[in-house]
């Protein structure tokens, strides 16, 4: 399993053509206390860079973008009752949705952990 990052602060774990997406620890820190999360339903088609989910904190509502194109297989139902999982466990239990990749070559444009750390350090 390999983890990639986007410059919009999403992470994606890829295992074959199955993947899990969430937002990074840096992103949750910037957002502050998360109070609402809307995740996509299974079956929804996502295209890379398009709107996929919504995360709302006490400060602002933000869109979460699809790091790659694909079909959603599951949204994290736990987030509707416990949105704070995004704050407490952003890169594990606070995942947003799982999807099946439709174009794995899109992964080539994403960052690995080292590159993302460098990217965040420059912000």
């Amino acid at each position: 399993m390999t983890r990639y990052f986007t410059k919009d602060h999403e992470w994606i774990d890829v295992d074959g053509d199955a993947a899990t997406v969430g937002i990074t620890d840096y992103a949750q820190g910037q957002l502050g206390d998360v109070v609402f999360v809307e995740v996509p339903d299974a079956g929804r088609q996502l295209s890379q860079g398009g709107d996929a989910a919504v995360v709302e904190s006490v400060k602002a509502a933000s869109d979460v973008y699809a790091p790659v194109s694909g079909t959603v297989t599951e949204g994290n139902a736990a987030l509707s009752d416990t949105p704070d999982l995004v704050n407490t466990s952003p890169e594990a239990d606070g995942w947003f949705f799982k999807l099946t990749l439709s174009n794995p070559s899109e992964l080539d444009g994403l960052m690995d952990e080292g590159a993302y750390k460098e990217f965040v350090a420059g912000l």
Partner: protein, 560 residues
Amino acid sequence: MSMNRQGRVSRPEGETAANTETFTGNRALMLEEPLIFEIGNEHTTGVDLPYPPLDFEGKGTAREASGGGAAGVAGGLTPAAPPPPSAVPLPEQARGGFEGLLRTRPIGLPGLSEPEATRHYTRLSRQNYAIDLGLFPLGSCTMKHNPRLNEKVARLPGFADVHPLQPQETVQGAYALIYLVADWLCKLTGMPAVAMSPKAGAHGELCGLLAIRSALEARGDMRSVVLVPESAHGTNPATAAFAGYAVENIPATPEGRVDFEALKRRLGPDVAAVMITNPNTCGLFERDMKRIADAVHAAGAFVYCDGANFNAIVGRVRPGDLGVDAMHINLHKTFSTPHGGGGPGSGPVVFSAALAPFAPLPFVEKQGDHYHLVEEETAEEHHAHSFGRMVAFHGQMGMFTRAAAYMLSHGADGLRQVSEDAVLNANYILRSLDDLLDAPFGDSGPCMHEALFSDDGMAEGFTTLDIAKGLIDEGFHPMTMYFPLVVHGAMLVEPTETESKANLDQFIGALRSVAARAKNGDPSLKAAPHFAPRRRLDETLAARKPVLVWKDPEVAQAAE
């Protein structure tokens, strides 16, 4: 001479005791007020109503049926002698013509006498802050004084008492006033047409986009994308989505304006419109507006301008000259009507010649000295392409009268001075604070009507929220915070033309003091506000577990 030598102490003695608890919980003029459900009861009423009809009363059970002995509570009955409590249901034969209509249990509304109700709401109002109490620096909201002259005009019986379905001959004066306001809006914006009916800014945005959509449909050119720069108002993307378009962002330049090259690259046959807020939410004038409009028009698309910030340029800039096709005007921002308008507000939309044929119905037309409404029945002759109606009637008359009073009392030169003073005041604030607070676009030239700061340079753990709470202790409503999103910990301050230099100096002094505490890490600021009716609230808990309905504590406890 006999004389009381004891006298009366006329100077304070002893220690001041800020933390003394009071028996009532009140603190002098700051009165602690419970919820109305907690002070009301079912035995009190402010209105006396007669008994129910005699034949019904004569059966002797009606009052008992009205609620287990809680006599006349919500029904407003105040019998001379309250009937005995009784939960006995009304006998079938006694119900007469009221079969199935009688209440069987109390209605559950709190009852208060008139003085109790008056005091309750007056006490609550004293815990609030208002433009009539002091400077209200909410950026992007334009909290300016509502002149009392406007109120006097709006209350004239010929304006206040008209009904939208009155025969047109009987409301010629009201139509003349709508026509007058429309004419001023067209002249001030340099646009040929205006829709007066939209009820608010965002409603106006929708009106503009629906006209754009109709114009594109009329030429058989369905397009799917609306471009919205990062520096636009937050309602813009929502409006575009509601009108059925996909929304795409256009980045801002480092100086806080629309990135013209990025916008130009994105233009194409799928772009229906560009929505630009000018002046933008960074408080800057979009200098490239004409260039942008020309490029957008060359690509076959339309320019929507969010005119919420028109108050910064009224009398100096005509958006029509910049190539704008549609723009809403918030009457409360530029023309001093109350926010929300007492429900609803008013957001007229001006249109270019290209969009005018698609403007909504109805509108007032003048022929000779006579005014009439153009509605569906009469539109076919010369307004057949209208996209339809935004609202049932012709708009918010109460806002039109106030805006007209403002326009006529200021005149063209007065309106020009309004925008000049608003901009001057904002720049005074920007330059009086930019040595202490970070002004991210301070080098982009003068600001327009609002000054923007970031939270850069605060002590570790201190944020914009702390500054906002500190300002409450200083007796000011906080500024707009965390908006626009392009600035970290944004603080957006809009003083408006209402404030005098003395008022601005006091506010600047307060903000400097609070900002200095945030920079020095003063722990007492983390606990602010100290002097408000309520201390700092847990906003996270309020958002995650909101309590939206009052529940009787006994009932709530029993349910657990």
